[in-house]
């Protein structure tokens, strides 16, 4: 489609043109020319009607399969769906295999479903800055339902729980899950637990274990636990009901959450920029230390001076 001005992209988005959205995503993700006007437009437009669901959990647990099953239900309810499917970038090569959409292939021909595969490209840990910016565009485009899929490895769940209206954490039946959970602080970010692959033995046991772990939380904070078999579309209605009821409750303390989200957004955008700047300065100083010009101690204080610390 060639280079397209932000004004034109905004016009395309306003008219519901997917290609416009798709190109705008590349522009904001890569901070190409025109990304700021696009983001300002998207932020100001907002997305009052959209509901953003985060789906996270360990690799291979069935996140994409569940997303696909949810899409099917939401489409039957005539809701449009936008998916941001995040897969990890290799820290060694910067490349990524973005495989989630293969599991959602049945929706490929549906004009009411838009799926974008995103590489995590993380530099600070957590959801990429790109993902956060893309979410603004999705809201401006006006999807009824937005689904963000990320692999849960530490920081990601926490980020996703700030960006999304609600977060579902997927687990597979088997021992050890409950340990992982209490360690990673997943309990605090999950609005909803889903034990997928419940066709497997131990599904029930894992459910009980999980529920007993959750008893340590105050009753009103205990998230529901739902068993699903995503590839057979079993348990999906229960997930949708839980999402609706959590969302209803959520609206009540919506302002505090919104404030938290905006804070996090400003913080992470600044941290991202600072990190870039610091990395460049460190590279320069490293060369100077290696050439015998200064000591690492000098180098560090010079960088701090540069940033007025």
């Amino acid at each position: 489609m060639g280079w397209t001005s932000p004004e034109k992209l905004i016009e395309l988005i306003e008219s519901g043109n997917r290609r416009g959205l798709s190109r705008a995503i590349s522009v904001v993700e890569n901070q190409l020319e025109g990304h700021e006007p696009l983001l300002n437009y998207a932020f100001n437009k907002g997305g009052g009607a959209s509901l953003t669901l985060g789906i996270t959990g360990p690799p291979g647990v069935g996140k994409s399969t569940l997303a696909s099953a949810l899409i099917k239900k939401y489409r039957a309810l005539k809701k449009t769906v936008g998916v941001i499917a995040v897969d990890p970038t290799s820290p060694y090569t910067g490349g990524a295999f973005l495989g989630d959409r293969v599991r959602m292939a049945e929706h490929g021909g549906d004009s009411g479903v838009y799926i974008r595969s995103i590489a995590s490209r993380k530099s600070l840990g957590g959801l990429s800055e790109g993902t956060k910016r893309i979410l603004y565009l999705y809201k401006a485009f006006g999807f009824d339902m937005i689904i963000i899929e990320t692999v849960g490895v530490g920081q990601d769940e926490i980020d996703i729980s700030i960006m999304a209206d609600l977060t579902a954490v997927l687990l597979a039946p088997g021992a050890g899950d409950e340990l992982q959970m209490s360690k990673a602080g997943i309990m605090e970010v999950a609005d909803l637990f889903i034990i997928n692959k419940s066709d497997r033995p131990e599904a029930e046991k894992t459910g009980h274990l999980l529920k007993s772990t959750l008893l340590t939380l105050a009753k009103e904070y205990q998230p529901p636990v739902i068993n699903t078999i995503a590839d057979q579309h079993v348990g999906i209605d229960a997930v949708i009901d839980a999402i609706q009821s959590i969302h209803r409750k959520r609206r009540e303390n919506g302002i505090e959450r919104y404030r938290q989200r905006i804070r996090e957004e400003i913080r992470s955008a600044v941290a991202f920029r600072l990190n870039q700047e610091i990395r460049n300065a460190v590279d320069v100083m490293t060369d100077r230390v290696l050439s015998g010009d200064i000591t690492p101690i000098h180098a560090a204080s010079e960088i701090c001076r540069k940033f007025k610390l």
Partner: protein, 134 residues
């Protein structure tokens, strides 16, 4: 185009070709070369491939086929791209490509046209040069 933007490739398999080894090897090679790789899965249609390429805003569609029908596949993909006015998405082809088919493919604007046994480095280098001409 921004040099820092990773190259995005869609690997597409159209029709009833069940061989997945070729595309999987290629996916790994592209990823290890720093690209972002998306796969259509098997049994995609030309319309679906082009729609996916547009939704994912890829730079390149890499067609993989081991049934010997690349000219037919490529022709339908090129027609679909033209219909959508997306001629600046590059199309490459690889797999079981008959030498006698290559001139026709090149004529359509399909690039690469790599037969079995082509070294991966050759493919990677050419792919990069398509997006970032030197």
């Amino acid at each position: 185009m921004n040099e820092n933007k990773p190259i995005r490739v869609l690997i597409a398999k159209i029709g009833c070709d069940i061989h997945e080894r070729g595309p999987i090897t290629l996916m790994t090679a592209f990823r290890d070369a720093g690209m972002e790789v998306i796969y259509t899965g098997r049994y995609a249609t030309p319309e679906r491939v082009v729609q996916t390429a547009m939704d994912e805003d890829v730079d390149i569609i890499a067609l993989s086929d081991h049934t010997g029908s690349m000219p037919i596949i490529a022709e339908s993909v090129m027609a679909e791209l033209k219909k959508n006015d997306e001629m600046d998405i590059h199309v490459m082809a690889g797999g079981l490509i008959l030498p006698s088919d290559i001139p026709a493919l090149e004529n359509m604007g399909v690039k690469g046209n790599y037969g079995p046994g082509t070294p991966l480095e050759t493919i990677i280098k050419y792919t990069k040069s398509l997006v970032h001409p030197v």
